[in-house]
């Protein structure tokens, strides 16, 4: 029988993988993908709780808004990556080194 905890563990795995990607990736687009994993993990939580714990649709509504926000963030993030690439010809974070610290 699949219960709430099953879904929560799956989302915990996604979240941890997202954090791993965040910490180890150099390329900005890779980091953006890791952030998408984090947001999806939180969304799975919200929907699972909506189904098993809350008994209302608040979690799913929240999930829709998270998707909206994620789309906006990716749009703005990629716009900046593109501009950075035009100026520096590399989207790698390590080589974005004019600013120290």
């Amino acid at each position: 029988m699949i219960s709430l905890q099953h879904y929560l563990v799956v989302s915990a795995a996604l979240f941890s993988l997202g954090i791993l990607g965040l910490l180890t990736r150099r390329n900005a687009v890779h980091v953006l993908m890791s952030i998408e994993l984090i947001l999806n993990a939180a969304n799975i939580n919200l929907v699972a709780f909506s189904r098993f714990a809350a008994g209302n649709l608040g979690g799913q509504i929240f999930g829709v808004f998270v998707i909206v926000v994620a789309a906006s963030e990716v749009a703005v993030g990629l716009a900046i990556v593109l501009t950075l690439y035009r100026l520096r010809r590399t989207p790698n974070l390590d080589e974005a080194d004019i600013l120290k610290g």
Partner: protein
């Protein structure tokens, strides 16, 4: 193992395995396509949880929008003829320790905590969600439209080639 369990395990493994590929693969294109499978897996989990509207939105927006955008980003920031789409990873070990630790902590928390116990049996959600958007959650719904306006204007402005005001 009933059908629900089988479907759950299939989707979960697809999701987590592709997520691992996204994070660990050296090639950006492989990560992007693995992300596609992750999104599909998550959409499948939504359907299992009875969130039909959200699953459709996930596919439309995440796969059809965000992923396509990410692929554009990948393609436009590398010379196509170069095909050198590999990226390095900084030291894996410390990150791995943090990630595993985080997973253990979060899973333990998830299992041990007494969550609220009201279940909602799966039922079509679209009409209810529509009612909520125009009822209780009206303000966030409208605010989200402003957010999209700002993001749209902003992204377009940032990418636009320099033109004097």
């Amino acid at each position: 193992m009933n059908a629900e369990a089988v479907v759950f395990w299939v989707f979960s493994i697809v999701t987590v395995a592709s997520a691992a590929v996204v994070v660990l693969s050296r090639t950006l294109i492989y990560s992007a396509f693995a992300l596609l499978f992750t999104f599909f897996g998550v959409a499948g989990l939504y359907v299992l949880l009875g969130a039909d509207f959200l699953a459709a939105t996930q596919l439309l927006v995440y796969v059809g929008g965000i992923l396509v955008l990410l692929l554009f980003g990948v393609m436009l920031t590398h010379k196509i003829y170069d095909l050198d789409l590999k990226t390095d990873t900084t030291q894996l070990a410390p990150g791995l320790i943090v990630a595993v630790g985080l997973f253990v902590i979060l899973s333990a928390t998830a299992v041990r905590t007494q969550w609220m116990g009201l279940a909602r049996p799966p039922a079509p959600t679209t009409s209810e969600i529509g009612r909520l958007f125009l009822g209780q959650y009206l303000l966030p719904f409208e605010a989200a439209s402003l957010l999209l306006l700002v993001a749209l204007m902003g992204a377009a402005m940032i990418v636009r080639r320099r033109r004097d005001a």
